[in-house]
Amino acid sequence: MSEVIDQYVKTEYEAGFVTDIESETLPPGLNEEVIRFISAKKNEPEWLLDWRLKAYRQFVEMEEPEWAHLNYPKIDLNEVSFYSAPKSINDAPKSLDEVDPELIETYNKLGIPLHEQEVLAGVAVDVVFDSVSVATTFKEKLAEAGVIFCPISEAVHQYPELIQKYLGSVVPQKDNYFAALNSAVFSDGSFVYIPKGVRCPMELSTYFRINEAKTGQFERTLIIADEGSHVSYLEGCTAPMRDENQLHAAVVELVALDKANIKYSTVQNWYPGDENGKGGIYNFVTKRGICHDNAKISWTQVETGSAITWKYPSVVLRGNNSVGEFYSVALTRNYQQADTGTKMIHLGKNTKSTIISKGISAGKSQNAYRGLVRMSPRADGARNYTQCDSLLIGDQCGAHTFPYIESKHPNAIVEHEATTSKVSDDQLFLCQQRGIDTEKAVSMIVNGFCKEVFKELPMEFAVEAGKLLEVSLEGSVG
């Protein structure tokens, strides 16, 4: 049986790209000059340059964290280039015919429409195609509602008072090594502002921003939901994204003011490295939200990519009666390593949090859940429920759970449940005996295991996520 499973987990990533290095790329290495260069390139105001420099000065005093259950060679920042000019349209593939057919096949399996395939594969499209006009229509609709949704680099110029007030307010520059690095050199990202009492008329998706700007490896996102507003934000997409940078260190900050509601969903499918563990993206992300009175923040993530994942989307429940949620599916195979989880910091009274984490390990991968639930001395009536399930495929992978609970209030209730199970030979044989081949059976069992999380995803995303797991687990069998 293990042979069959081996074959699955050896499926190659279907988006292996090698591209020539662009001309306008800074030489590798990081110093103050580099930061001034980046800031100048973006024509940034003085205050932002100072903000970046402050972050940089804190960064150089910091050490790369080593507490995660991850094993990788130290990152040499002298070998990383911190700025590259946006891609020239002349170097991009002219049509889908020039794109790796395997990639196109993956897109087709995922059911991605043709024009989106072109955008995702980086095809130089100079005619007006559907998604651009769709994006324009959406923009008009958003503007009508007063919603701001634009690249953060643009927001710096157009809404400086919002940026100055909130940038770094949830994740301070010196929060951690990677957050400090991001603060110093962030490339671009999304900015969202939902005015008071407004329910954002549509799901905000990075899909519609892709063709406007390449966000690069140090993405920075800031979402502000003003009092009583609602927003659902979708990050990433199920399709494998073309990317040449190995090191990614993103920061996402969410601010939910009184009675606001933010739902943030992520599907991450970056290059995980080959079957021998060579290459692949290192993904070090700091995601955090802050909830004021009666506000709610919900993180949902489906993580299948990257060689190294270091990511803990967290919620600071500052206001009374606020609610934090974390729903996660993390799938690792080959030599992938993931150390992911969440932090729920209960400060306000009657705050509630729910954590549902599903880890799936296959091949020789290592998958760790790391979560902190902290009940502060004034978190009267606070409650947390945590459920942490691991599913093992094959016998060479690892699943680990590191729950941290700090309760400083006598009536706080913290519940933690954890299970570990295996896709058993008996289950596979039952499926086969009913005519379902092993490949389909594994994907069905894994999808069943993830059901509780998938139902939290917006509809279309949930369907895509199911397909993504299927494609990720696909092998040469049958």
Partner: protein, 247 residues
């Protein structure tokens, strides 16, 4: 329908089947009886192609086709069905989803049009009713939290849905009370249409009062050592398995 000649098989280097031969014609019901460890369950697994059950010698011909080279799922789609002694749970995967995947795969293999969702639901509900299973079963996880009797009825329901040519019932009576046994047996008997064949693997004669076989075979130490009509089961019941050791 099925021709087995001199079948030898091993599991983890242990020889279990040691020269088993059997021929089954369309519409026949054959009972395989034998003491614990005689190879009864192994026989079902070998026939259905379970991984890890290695055939070292002999032939299996099903509907004129050598099936030894086929994967377990292909054998199933050829029309070979195994009702499990202990059906395993698949948490989170609903029965409905599971059955749809099963029926879609089978129909595709057999070159039939896929069933649309409405016809499928209608069919599944109808079969549930026949084995006295509440329709809510379709929404629950595969065998998840089912009682022993419910699991077995679920197996029979799947059998009715997939309409196989040959059904192997592996100790279907184990863990069933009389009422549940009656329901299961009624289900099986309803499927006897003169063409469909059955191999009923059982430890006790009791089941054969409900599902009356045409032939009874006694399996001992990996071989069929005695065959006869349905009376053989009664004789076996009366004299015990130690009797056959003396044969």
């Amino acid at each position: 329908m099925l021709k087995i000649n001199n079948l030898h098989a091993k599991v983890e280097d242990k020889d279990i089947l040691k020269g088993l031969s059997l021929e089954i014609k369309p519409g026949e019901v054959h009972a395989i009886m034998g003491p614990n460890g005689s190879g009864k369950s192994t026989f079902g697994y070998v026939l259905s192609g379970r991984e890890g059950y290695e055939v070292t010698d002999g032939e299996i011909e099903f509907e004129g086709k050598n099936i030894l080279e086929l994967e377990a799922d292909e054998r199933a789609k050829e029309g070979l069905f195994l009702a499990f002694q202990y059906p395993v749970e698949i948490p989170g995967v609903s029965n409905m989803e599971f059955l749809k995947a099963s029926i879609d795969a089978t129909r595709e293999y057999q070159g039939k049009e896929p069933l649309d969702a409405v016809s499928f639901m209608k069919l599944a509900r109808e079969k549930c009713q026949q084995v006295n299973l509440d329709q809510n079963f379709l929404k629950r996880g595969v065998n998840e939290g089912f009682s022993g009797g419910e699991k077995k009825r679920n197996e029979i329901m799947q059998m009715m849905l997939l309409e196989p040519k040959l059904c192997i019932l592996d100790e279907t009576d184990s863990g069933l009370d009389i009422d549940a046994l009656q329901v299961v047996a009624d289900g099986v008997n309803a499927c006897r249409d003169g063409n469909r064949s059955f191999i009923v693997v059982t430890h006790y004669q009791r089941l054969l009062d409900y599902i009356v076989p045409d032939y009874v075979h006694v399996l001992s130490n990996g071989k069929i050592i005695k065959s006869g009509g349905k009376e053989l089961a009664l004789e076996l019941e009366e004299k015990g398995y130690s009797w056959i050791d003396k044969l």
